[in-house]
Assembly symmetry: C2
Homo-oligomer: 155 residues x 2
DNA sequence: TCCTTTTTAGGAATCATTCTCAACAAGGCC
DNA sequence: GGCCTTGTTGAGAATGATTCCTAAAAAGGA
């Protein structure tokens, strides 16, 4: 039997499995977010998608980013600079360099104990958590005189 | 010598010490944020301040909240629902109840070890961090059937 | 093919936040 | 008191990210 002619890389088929149609805009949006580690904004994704699909609408990008995040194909994050998306859906923390503004993934995770302690102290049931670290990344530490700068903005 | 007739409670005098004038709008804004534990939005502060100073402008509220936060008299936080302010300037974490939406302070802090571990693993210099926990608060745990609700919005 | 449902593009609307600027208040100094 | 300088305010306009609306196109199913 001949394999389906539109077999895509990644786990795109799971989209269909969960009742999604893998339209052209959706495939491109998902690919853009997954192909970068900058935790892109919707505007960034829009710019990238337009290179392949010039007529795509910004509303379509927002709509599908929201939808893909709601279904767990992407992660959604909010910070002072607005909403960003993360193609890495494994649990991980983040580090923001205050000098260059870059946002890094921090693969390690030290939650179990911390969560348990907070839970017993407060009586809250803890289902999830989020840790953000701030400081200077390796590159910026080497460049002496590069001290924290105010007013980082969007990608 | 007669004491200054405008001696205020709290640490308001420090405002002057740092080169601020303690104007009426500023005093009221600071008092509103310090008097609540709801981590108010600018709109919330605006509503409260207007009760005492009906002619105050929303721009004045934003301007001074930003300024007071920059000087360390308040803390500023961003989440998915927008910018909020915190009268508690001591280092502390937060817990968001996914059922009722309330945001609680978590006075405990388990950072030293976590920070050190992340620093050695990544090579980043860690100057600060932020921890957010999510789950169900004590009140909501008791009310069975009250499960997490989508779309929490502003105060 | 015909019918139904989903998705889209494009533009308008919303809404939080910031900006602009003329008027105003405070303080210092003569 | 008058004058100047500097910081602050209120009102409204501007900005900018996100969402909403809607008619048209696309996809699926039978
Ligand atoms: Mn990430
Ligand atoms: Mn707090
Ligand atoms: Zn850096
Ligand atoms: Zn609750």
């Amino acid at each position: 039997m001949i394999p389906k002619k539109d077999g895509h890389p990644h786990g795109h088929e799971t989209l269909r499995a969960r009742g999604f149609r893998l339209t052209e805009p959706r495939r491109l949006i998902l690919d853009v977010v997954r192909a970068t580690d900058v935790h892109p904004t919707a505007a960034f994704v829009y710019r990238r998608v337009r290179k392949k699909l010039p007529r795509v609408s910004l509303a379509t990008v927002y709509r599908n980013l929201r939808m893909l995040a709601a279904e767990g194909f992407l992660a959604e994050r909010a910070d002072a600079a607005g909403m960003r998306f993360d193609g890495n859906t494994l649990p991980h923390d983040h580090f923001t360099c205050l000098a260059c503004g870059r946002l890094y993934d921090v693969p390690a995770r030290a939650d179990r104990a911390v969560r348990a302690r907070v839970a017993t102290r407060t009586g809250f049931e803890i289902l999830n958590h989020r840790a953000e670290f701030y400081g200077r990344c390796g590159a910026c530490r080497r460049q002496t005189g590069r001290s924290p700068v105010k007013g980082q903005r969007r990608s």
